[in-house]
């Protein structure tokens, strides 16, 4: 299982791939004809994916690059306008910058918090006591609730007058904010929602913890290391590939954050654009205003941002991600 975590998701990893098909073992007696046959059959088997890749990935990928230089409202054919979309985005569209700001702010707050909560829960639940499975299930449960349902539950518990959260705050005589209606609190509401679902990543960390060899801890105990020291020197370094994986995926997912923002603002990104996430703004431009050329340009900027951030995280991994035994 751990192999998969260590796998840098989007770099080719030759050793992992197709080393020993059954055909390889026949080896010596293989002639040109059977080699050709293997190639033919191999390509036949992967053809569903290959066709899907060409039609649903490669073609749209190139097409959206082209569309980003056009004015396109889907009804009329696209009209080439050079760099106009990009110019407008960078110099004349405050909403583009607003949406980028919202997304980055959320990424900076939610991604680390979810990471820390997930790891903390995993460390806590990685003990062998009676009934621990029940607790694991409890913490995991929120993450299987469909996003649409989670959001509708949170809209209700954050309701200003009669919602659960403000009722609980009222016990302590605190007048709770109006949450989803107050631009200062919307982002935090979404962060709470993300933390509520952090149990999903806990399972991944638990699996990672199970793979840490026990003798490391035994040796550390003999050396008189404290529990905190052991966590710091053994657990976290050994877990770092999993943390790394979750960090990368967390950042990528934030830039595609859509459903929750769409639901709590009814597609508007309000109040005061405080939930105008990048993906939501792109959706608005493309489908509400049918400005699909601009939407494509936004998609490409998104793509470049994600590639850049991922590259930076990948570069940083030498310093803190610990592979190997």
């Amino acid at each position: 299982m751990v192999q998969i975590f260590q796998l840098p998701m989007f770099l080719p990893i030759p050793p992992l791939v197709c080393r020993h098909g059954p055909a390889g073992k026949i080896g010596v007696r293989r002639n040109m004809k059977s080699k050709f046959r293997d190639n033919l059959i191999g390509y036949l088997f992967i053809s569903p994916w290959l066709i899907g890749f060409l039609v649903f990935t490669l073609y749209p990928f190139c097409q959206s690059f082209y569309l980003s230089f056009t004015r396109y409202n889907i009804i009329q054919p696209p009209k080439f306008i050079g760099l106009a979309n990009y110019k407008m985005m960078f110099f004349d569209d405050p909403l583009f910058w607003a949406s980028l700001g919202v997304t980055i702010k959320y990424a900076l707050v939610a991604v680390p918090l979810v990471l820390v909560v997930g790891i903390g829960l995993a460390l806590l639940l990685n003990v062998n006591i009676k009934g621990i499975a029940i607790f694991r299930t409890i913490f995991y449960l929120p993450s299987i609730v469909p996003m649409v349902a989670t959001t509708s539950i949170f809209i209700w518990i954050l309701s200003p007058q009669v919602g659960l959260v403000n009722q609980i705050l009222a016990i302590f005589h605190i007048q709770g904010p109006i949450w989803l209606k107050d631009p200062h609190w919307t982002l935090w509401s979404l962060v709470f929602m993300a933390i509520w679902g952090a149990g999903g990543s806990m399972v991944i960390y638990l699996a990672g913890l199970k793979d840490i060899p026990q003798y490391l801890y035994e040796a550390a105990t003999l050396d008189g290391a404290s529990a905190i020291k052991k966590t710091q020197m053994i657990t976290l370094p050994m877990l770092s590939p999993v943390i790394f994986f979750n960090l990368v995926m967390g950042v990528i997912n934030t830039f595609q954050y859509f459903t929750q923002a769409f639901m709590i603002s009814d597609g508007t990104g309000g109040p005061s654009n405080s939930t105008l996430f990048y993906a939501l703004y792109m959706f608005q431009r493309s489908w509400k205003y049918l400005d699909m050329g601009y939407g494509s340009a936004m998609a490409w900027v998104l793509f470049i941002i994600i590639v850049a951030i991922t590259t930076v995280i990948f570069r940083s991994q030498k310093r803190w991600v610990h592979y190997g035994r």
């Binding site: 088997f45 994916w49 749209p60 006591i129 449960l141 996003m147 009669v162 009222a170 990543s201 994600i306």
Partner: protein
């Protein structure tokens, strides 16, 4: 171990349990609150012990009396049964399509040695990280020009071209299967297709189940797809219908929670029956 030490151990255990129980409140509370709300009426929500001025009390969680009406009313108002049928249809077809096609492709990658196979495999892994937004507009435009807008086809057809994640999972699984049987079958003149359907597939039930489960969840939860492609409200799925329900001007919390409850329940039940498959899948994928 001295009795003193075991007393400390005992105390640690008690402390741990107490901590776990307290920490269990935040994940459970919203769900309990949802169930409780779905069984109340207006009066219970807005007056009895339930306004922010008086504060929260545990007893307010218990509906007095139980109001079951919200469920049939939500069913009616949301056209729940229609959406359920639509959703189940989409789930069924996408599970069949994506698991079937992914298994075929995975056999190619995992069991056949062909030219450039590692290049294609790496490329496939790379596509997993490509944000959907980048390809969204041209795909939409493509489906629209085919006249598929407003039909289920844009939600169903792509499933039949394999899902990179399932292909990856199944390829890894197929590689772990011993090759002796397959080789002796080959000597007996069996074709790759026969080996795939008669030998590999029956041995791969657990991996196929994981994929099927996640394909099902993906289709059940999908919001963006229906939002982009469905226009006729009779064709809506549950996820989309629920969002529309929230978006409606009047906000009937009790019915909304009843509807949410009915939307979540099948997933939770599925989870308790297939817990192992769930965890296995999550632990290998790294998320939803």
């Amino acid at each position: 171990m001295t009795s003193n030490e075991s007393a400390i151990k005992q105390r640690q255990k008690v402390f741990l349990y107490a901590l776990l129980i307290i920490l269990s409140i935040p994940p459970l509370m919203p769900l309990i609150w949802m169930v409780s709300t779905s069984l109340k009426n207006d009066a219970q929500i807005y007056t009895t012990g339930g306004t922010s001025t008086s504060g929260f009390s545990l007893s307010s969680l218990w509906p007095k009396p139980f109001v079951w009406n919200n469920y049939p009313e939500a069913l009616e108002r949301m056209s729940f049964m229609v959406y359920l049928r639509n959703t189940l249809f989409i789930c069924f077809v996408t599970v069949l399509g994506s698991v079937g096609s992914s298994a075929v492709v995975a056999y190619g990658f995992g069991r056949i040695n062909f030219k450039f196979s590692s290049f294609w495999f790496a490329l496939m892994l790379a596509t997993m990280a490509l944000p959907g937004q980048v390809t969204m507009i041209p795909i939409f435009s493509l489906f629209r020009s085919l006249g598929w807008y407003g039909t289920y086809l844009p939600l169903l057809v792509p499933a039949f071209f394999g899902s990179p994640f399932f292909i990856f999972l199944l390829t890894q699984f197929f590689k772990t299967l011993p090759s002796e049987f397959a080789e002796s079958a080959k000597v007996d003149g069996a074709s790759d297709w026969t080996i795939f359907t008669r030998l590999i597939l029956p041995l791969s039930k657990p991996a196929l189940a994981t994929c099927a489960l996640f394909a099902f969840l993906g289709a059940w939860n999908d919001f963006l797809g229906p939002l982009l492609y469905l226009s006729d409200s009779r064709k809506y799925t549950l996820a989309y219908g629920l969002q529309q329900f929230v978006g409606n001007h009047y906000m009937n919390w009790m019915q909304l929670m009843a509807a949410s409850m009915m939307f979540i329940a099948p997933i939770v039940i599925l989870f308790f029956f297939a817990q192992k498959t769930f965890i296995q899948g999550i632990a290998t994928t790294g998320g939803k």
